[in-house]
Each structure stands twice: as structure tokens, then as C-alpha cells.
Amino acid sequence: MQSLLAEIAPAVQPAYRQASVAMHAMLLGSVREEFDRAAARRAEENAALRALFADAAATLGDAGLRERLASAARTADVSLRVPDLDAANLTLRALLIELHAHVETLAGPEARRLEAAIWRELAASTERRKLSLSPF
């Protein structure tokens, strides 16, 4: 990445191509950063979501949603390959949206506790994905 940014990009013309090479260098740097954590962060998040769903399934009154949460909580990652972990993550995160929207409509301290737990997980999810190049 440093070689692309510091040595190759400055020698490329015109400026548009130079910026494109620099952008590719930044992409490569981000891929390197992600390579190290790709499986770990996905496995960690999938486990956190299943635990959250198990917690919610034990307290929610909506029978249909409760059953789907409990069912999702019982699933496990089929392998540590990133595509497999991603497929599970997409399903779990879609269900998280549904759970979050449902909990927002409920009153009472238990609903607020669950809502706070969902926000904590969402905050953690941004930390897992953050790139060192990020401006914010």
C-alpha cells in the first residue's frame, strides 16, 4: 500500500489516474485490515446476535416473533468461511431490524432494557467494522 501511495501513484499521469491509483491503494490497505479480522468479527457478531435473540425470546409476548427469535438463537455457523458467516449474518441482522422495530412499540422497563441491549450491539457492530482510514 505504501509503495503504491508514495512511489507509484505520484508517477502516474494524468491526475485522475493518479488519484485512482491512490484510491486503489487505500482499498488494498482496507482489505489488509479486514483480512486479519474478517472471520473473527463475523463469528463474534453472529454469536452476540444469537444471545440477544435468546434473551428477547424469553421475554417477548408476540408468539410468532418469539418463536423466530428462539429458532434463530439455536442456529450455529456452519463453517468459518467468510461467505458462510456472511450469509448467517445477513439473516440475523435482518431479524434484528424486526426485533428492534417491535421493541420500540412496547412500553415498560423490560422493553427499554431490551432496546438498550440492541443499541449496545449496534454500537459494537460499528466498532467491529471500523476502518483505520475512516474520517469519523
Binding site: L27, L96, F136
Partner: protein, 355 residues
């Protein structure tokens, strides 16, 4: 067929484009002869249109004329789908006003002349636009001056009368109490159509926005819609010479622009300064003084959160184009990845849920 020595296919394509552009412009320059286009070079100029600079030369009344111009051509895929007619009209409407813009010259919506619709405008030379330039001399010390000018000009845009500018009709009007709903519905639809993975934070923000609608807009204004550092041309003395990239311009609540400009994701130096230029409170104060409008804190907070939805819409639609191979510009892939996460983090801060 054998390739002529020293000529790569890309150079031949540029040469062909120069020839076709010259033919197009020759038909639009009455009395001109020996019309030539040269030095056509692609530059960065927003991710939604392919931008190139070129030199136009011709003879008229015995005099040789030379103009440096910009070609903005629709690409196959981009960060956002925008109406070039609106962008062209916005440049023309603000020309000669308190809002500096380059001169827009020709608009062509037929794909035949250059394979894609395009427009041509004046090039302003010797100026800078990148936020990276602000991180080092000679621009580093001009950030506060640029910031004051940036939000003063945005106030002028907010103050402008869309009717007098001739933009009502071209830009669909909206009732003052419906501005927020129209924009939110638009960007929610973009997310519905383009997201590559679930967006639980953005979806939660959308629900919050619907539960907590803002007050009606104080006035129906022209919203630039991408008013941020990087979309204006400035010099080393801290003066702004042109506001660019009007491709998403529309009529709406002027607070939309103010909120977008102070979106935390534009803090490239990570110094907490709005747009990398000024403290947020100062930017708001300057905008209020210039526009004559009030930035009600609750209303502005709504639009700041809306900016996170809109930002995410831009990042995911660019990411979809990149993944599908419709556009190979690496900025689309990196934006979808890095800026999408930054946008989520900004939303968490605004909602009081930051880690």
C-alpha cells in the same frame, strides 16, 4: 488490425471524443471556423458524472479564440442518479448572483453526439477543491476564512427565491410541511432498492425520524443537496470562487443543506471542525446571519439525522454499482465500505448511543 506504434486504445478513444466534441461545438458557434478540441483529460469532479477538462479553439471575425472548458458526461453507473437538466439549470440560475458558479454553456440530452448526455461549462483554473489540500500549507491556515465564506454562501443559497431564479417548475415544488417527508421517502426508497446488506442503524434512524417529524420549513428554498467541503473551488487566500456539483439540487427546507454540510463524516482531519473548517456553532451562526433564517436546534437535529439516512443511501447505491461492475471507480467501493460505517457512527452519536 495492427495497432499504430505508440498509440494505446485509450488515447485513440480520447482523440475520437475530441473530434466528435469539436463537431458538436462547431454547430453551436455561429460564425466560427477551424473549431478544434484538444487536451481532453479526465479529472475528478464528483462521482455521478464523468468530468473532463479540454481546450476549445476556433476562429471568429479573424481572431483566434481559446477557451478552457469542462465536459460533464453521464456515466453508465454512479453514486447517485441525477438529472443533468437540473444541474445545468442551477448553474445558469445562480450565475451573476451572490453565489459564485462557473458559466454553464451547452446542454445536450441526446446520447447520439457523445454516446451519453452531457453538458459543457467554463473551467476555472488555478484553484483547488480537494479536502486533502486543506490539511497542508498554503491552505491549512485559510480554513477558518474558507469556513466563514462557505457558510455565508450557503446562507445566500438559502435566501435565494427559487421563483425569481426560474427554477420552480424544473424543480418540483413541495409544501413547507412536506419537505421532510418527500426527502425521507426518496432516500428510504434508494435504500430499499440498492442496499447490499441489512442496515439496522439506518432503519432505526428512519423510524425515529418518522416518529419525531420536524416543524415545517421556514421557506421553500433551493437546496444544493451536496454542499460540503470538496464541492467548491478555493484559492490560497481563502476565497471561494465557485460552488460545484449541483446534481442533486431540489426545492426544499434550507436546513437540509446546513445539516448536510456539518455532517460529522466530513471531518477528514478528525479535529471536530464542521466540514474540517469551523466549529459547528460558528458555522450555524454565520449561516443564520447570512440567510436570515433560524436554525432551530430540534429541527436542525432532525435534518442532521436525516443526513445520515441520505448519506447511507448514497454510499449503498454507489456500492451496488461498484459490485455490479457498472462503474469501476474505486471511490464507490471504498465509500460504501468506509463511509457507510462512518455514517452509522455519526447516527449513533446524534441519537446518543455512541459506544
Amino acid at each position: 488490425m495492427a495497432r499504430p506504434p505508440g498509440v494505446v486504445p485509450e488515447c485513440r478513444a480520447v482523440s475520437e471524443l475530441e473530434r466528435r466534441l469539436a463537431a458538436y461545438l462547431a454547430a453551436r458557434l455561429p460564425g466560427a471556423s477551424r473549431v478544434e478540441v484538444s487536451d481532453l483529460v479526465r479529472i475528478h469532479g464528483g462521482a455521478s458524472r464523468e468530468t473532463s477538462r479540454f481546450v476549445l479553439r476556433f476562429e471568429r471575425d479573424g481572431e483566434r479564440v481559446e477557451r478552457r472548458l469542462i465536459l460533464r458526461r453521464d456515466p453508465p453507473g454512479s453514486l447517485i442518479e441525477t438529472d443533468r437538466r437540473v444541474e445545468f439549470a442551477a448553474y445558469r440560475a445562480f450565475r451573476g448572483s451572490a453565489v459564485p458558479v462557473p458559466e454553464a454553456l451547452w446542454l445536450e440530452e441526446d446520447a447520439a453526439p457523445l454516446d451519453h448526455p452531457f453538458f459543457v461549462m467554463e473551467e476555472l483554473t488555478g484553484l483547488e477543491s480537494s479536502f486533502q489540500a486543506l490539511l497542508a500549507p498554503p491552505f491549512l491556515d485559510q480554513r477558518a476564512k474558507l469556513g466563514r465564506r462557505k457558510w455565508q454562501i450557503l446562507g445566500e443559497i438559502a435566501k435565494a427565491d427559487p421563483e425569481k431564479l426560474g427554477l420552480v417548475g424544473l424543480m418540483p415544488p413541495v409544501a413547507l410541511d412536506q419537505c421532510w417527508q418527500r426527502e425521507l421517502a426518496y432516500w428510504e426508497r434508494v435504500l430499499d432498492e440498492d442496499e447490499l446488506e441489512p442496515q439496522p442503524i439506518t432503519r432505526a434512524v428512519i423510524r425515529w425520524l418518522r416518529r419525531n417529524p420536524p416543524p415545517p420549513a421556514q421557506k421553500l428554498g433551493v437546496v444544493h443537496a451536496d454542499y460540503r467541503t470538496g464541492n467548491f473551488l478555493f484559492d490560497a487566500e481563502g476565497e471561494i470562487h465557485a460552488i460545484l456539483d449541483w446534481e442533486m439540487a431540489h426545492l426544499g427546507d434550507p436546513l437540509e443543506d446546513l445539516a448536510w454540510g456539518i455532517n460529522p463524516v466530513w471531518q477528514w482531519a478528525r479535529d471536530g471542525l464542521a466540514g474540517g473548517l469551523l466549529p459547528k456553532a460558528e458555522a450555524i451562526r454565520i449561516w443564520e446571519a447570512s440567510s436570515g433564517l433560524v436554525a432551530d436546534p430540534a429541527a436542525l437535529h432532525w435534518w442532521e439525522l436525516f443526513s445520515c439516512v441520505k448519506g447511507q443511501g448514497i454510499w449503498v447505491s454507489g456500492g451496488r454499482e461498484y459490485q455490479a461492475g457498472a462503474n469501476h471507480d474505486p471511490v464507490l467501493g471504498l465509500s460504501a465500505w468506509m463511509m457507510g460505517n462512518a455514517q452509522d457512527r455519526a447516527a449513533l452519536v446524534l441519537l446518543g448511543h455512541a459506544p
